[in-house]
């Protein structure tokens, strides 16, 4: 591994093609092959990232000559097996979040990765957004003093499809997972969670035994208190806001107007809001990949890794169980 890293890119669905396009703009990546069970999709991915070949044979792609790293953007329920396969083949791994929806499968994957000793990064892209990254720097530098409060709000723009609900694990595992990961990234480990959910936006959530609106209290191990809110639709655009407050200051991470234009008319000023995660986190998606390849080329451990995925999953499950059971849940005691 000198100046470029040979890559096998697995998965050419909607999210996969988006990542493939991003990958195409990263000079450190030399994409050997794009693989997808649907060969046509694989070829579309190949065009977007400038890969040498495309294939429908995923195993062959992982083992292809010149492949040093495997990037996995497949359906969630295939992540764990593919990570393990790539790790056992001695490849560095980048995988979209989550590893799996159970602690058992996540834990087992973590063990395989650690046993193989390969670098492994999980796609919690928000950590690489310039806002969240700077928040972390300011906190580490002590600019916020002793931390006291955390707050996260996430509102997706478009309702998910009914079919996507059961395999997603539900609102806490599918949406709040990003906020719980940021809670850990910015403040530290969470000790206890108390959550409420409701179905206010669409009855399909009730049918799926899920909620579309949720609120949640967090107590961190350090004593800091937090709240997390989630909602599954928004007519005003993608709404992501995170706050960390301490004795010396506060940071708020929230997108400024999307378009650098103010339109004044009728005694009002109108500005644009980001549509969805691809435009809000465009830079973060690129930066997390650049960080992965930088780490590989410099022999550093990429981050966040599978242990982050495991600890964040614990909080998701604690929140879900808290809602279902109507009681606070300790994160350490959570079981699948």
């Amino acid at each position: 591994m000198r100046e470029t890293v040979g890559v096998a890119f697995i998965g050419a669905g909607r999210m996969g093609l988006s990542h493939a396009r991003t990958l195409g703009g990263i000079p450190a990546a030399r994409v050997v092959v794009v693989a997808d069970p649907d060969l046509e999709a694989a070829r579309r991915g190949q065009a977007l990232c400038g890969a040498e070949t495309a294939t429908s044979d995923i195993d062959a792609a992982i083992g292809a000559p010149g492949v040093e790293a495997v990037m996995i953007v497949t359906p969630t329920n295939t992540h764990a097996a593919l990570i393990q396969k790539a790790a056992r083949a001695g490849k560095a791994v980048w995988c979209e979040k989550p590893i799996a929806l159970t602690l058992a499968e996540t834990q087992q994957t973590l063990e395989v990765v650690e046993a193989a000793g390969v670098p492994c990064q999980i796609g919690f892209q928000r950590r690489y957004d310039p806002g969240y990254a700077q928040a972390r720097r300011l906190i580490e530098e002590g600019k916020l003093g002793k931390l006291e409060a955390f707050r996260a709000l996430s509102r997706d723009t478009y309702l998910p499809s009914p079919q996507s609900l059961p395999p997603s694990g539900g609102t806490f595992l599918d949406m709040s997972v990003h906020d719980f990961d940021l809670a850990r990234f910015l403040v530290g480990e969470v000790e206890e969670v108390s959550a409420w959910g409701a179905v206010l936006a669409h009855p399909m959530f009730a049918d799926a035994d899920d909620c579309d609106t949720a609120v949640c209290m967090l107590r961190f191990e350090s004593g800091v208190l937090g709240v997390v809110e989630a909602a599954r639709h928004s007519n005003w655009g993608y709404d992501i806001r995170t706050e960390v407050a301490g004795s010396e200051g506060k940071v708020v991470i929230e997108a400024p107007p999307k378009t650098p234009l103010q339109h004044f008319t009728g005694f009002q000023n109108h500005t644009d809001v980001y549509l969805n995660f691809p435009d809000r986190f465009e830079q973060a998606y690129r930066s997390q990949m650049e960080a992965f390849f930088d780490a590989l080329l410099q022999g550093k451990t990429p981050t966040p890794g599978p242990r982050d995925a495991l600890e964040t999953l614990r909080i998701c499950l604690a929140a879900k169980q808290s809602w279902k059971q109507g009681r606070p849940v300790k994160v350490r005691e959570v079981r699948d």
Copy 2:
């Protein structure tokens, strides 16, 4: 009552003098007398609001000739008795919040006021802030669609004095009361509360059996979910933010920069934050008084009234009990 209303103004402490000054700028108010047990203080109040006389005899002030309305800005533990005395004397009443710290005393005062049939307004000034007032209008006009979520954050700037803590009723009754009142004003009645508190800012709160940092979940009778956060100090200024989100839009009520000036230097833009409630809510303090006198002169019922104080107090007590007892509390079932 034609063009002006004769007023007895009771209480010339720090908050009283601030209100007296505001009162001095209201043409509809003709201030007959300012009363305070400390005659020197009463005279300072007299100067600020242009009152005809000052006295240390509160009973005499309430009964003074020409007095049609009594305004009460005394220590909290005297509010109920003074409201009752003024109401029994047939005077209109304006009183700083709260009426009392118990449901029993608040309920009894409400009954006296209703029996006397006098107008009575309680000083939840935020309802008269242009931001909150416009939020209410937009919600009533249906601009937010079906409501789904409420969020309120309040951070006071300066720590209270240790002596003030026990008589205040604690963080939920003293600070969050404003947010709970706004929850009712903007969304509707609250069914259930779950709250956590912590002492992170100063040990005096532990000594007073109080918390300085709190988070709280609300479930409204309509099914809407909410969160309320409170903290007792801030080095970045007075931090009040309220959000209401629905199927068709969201409103955020938060102060814009205090000074209409941006200072660019060193690759940053620096803007001022409001210091504290007197500057953040200066206009609301004036508007609530104007609304009181407008109501009196036009024969309308001023709002918010003692029933609002009672219902809001229930939520405060539910939150406090939830925190103390470690369980969700139904607002309807709350007892002193």
Copy 3:
């Protein structure tokens, strides 16, 4: 003059009534009399500021017992004579801008005031807006380093009436006067002006030999360069923006959103703009009066005074002549 100042308030037209109301909220002012040729108008003013009496006899008002200061909010063409009359009677004077529309009349008034040795303040209220005041402080403290550039934009909301155009002196004397005064207040004296005008909004401006849209370049005596823009109507609200840039930083003075509320819907964020000068400069109108009475009570010279009115008028005339004559004009060489 101890704690209050006895005032004769002259002029109860639209602007006069607005000022009278402001005056009513200033404890240091004891309003003896409101005078207006229209006695009914005077009585309305009396009610708004709580004056002791009202009269249609302006001379009597100026000479009334207890009157220490005369406030003049009459039509522009009466300002100079009234200031002189009040000054000769030994009264302190506050007068709306401008003193007059000619250098000769302004100069003569200045001489009368100086000969009488009375305090005299002219109503350039923007200097008392918190934004402009803070800009001045930052500049004086050296926070902007060596100044390099000035920029001012003013857009009124509503077109003036056709009748008001000729007596106003035109766009440069009526509107840009505020920006030229700020140029002097923030940067210093102006050496040369070059201006262009156009009629784009309404033909009545052409009929009045005036323009409704104007641009102007300023060269300050210090070498700083500036631009001033003016326009007479706006469908998006009152649009006032001023910038001063230097080697170490820049200040921008511009109103933040009028209402402390953001309304998100339809992938946009909508905020309110100020309607017009009364709401944009409400605080400045109050502060300039408070400053006048503070100066009187403390024996200080109130500011800005008649010399500021004179020097600012020179720039207005220079701009107007530059536009009419199609050439740059030196401010020092300007004649009526």
Copy 4:
């Protein structure tokens, strides 16, 4: 020309390498060769854009097999000759602005391009910034009504090197050129210019017979009035603001905070400002290249073309001559 376009990329200096990196992320570009007299530089460019080869022979690059388009990012004084050479070879051309610093050379190049009938795009990237592009759309849709005013401010962050001043053509040709191009893009052709310049930031500008601070008035053919300001250094970051106002509304194009983070501390809110054109216009640099390749692949005429470069240069020269000669200059009458 089907799905990709074969490219010869000429020039691997600082700006060239930046463009080469951008080019590397554009799937429609197949970079055949990077050429620079300095072969080492060419090889750095090759790595950044994934080119097949690198060479120090520019003529060979233009004529290389598979090359359909030539991209030119060389020193300004070589632009015209290289555009002509590429055009005569029948290649599509993309060239950084300007074509040349004289009307004669620009006109001659335009004629060669038109005679050759090849597509040619000049790098006025701001037209592809989402803010400016949306401004144009709103204006074309009539959302601003009848246009009345234009205003542009440009402040570069870092002073240029003394050596770069003479070949740059000076502040009006080097910096204001972007604002003059936007004036034409958003409002239309300019009829007359009046400009003032000063040396306030650094004496090297006087030595180069140039200015570092400039203001300028524009009169458009439609009667609209405008101002343009320019300054050569800024300690608060890259400061670009453009406004267009009309009878029905106003647009302001200005970057929102660079980092999506607000840092509150010490009673202030602090946000980041963009450093310089590469970060402020990162998206525009990419979008203008995408637009070039889209136009080639779809057989459309790319824009802006050499005629835009010519018309914009006229305004630059008019402003420079206005400053030097101390009089307004008609754009149509300008000569080299």
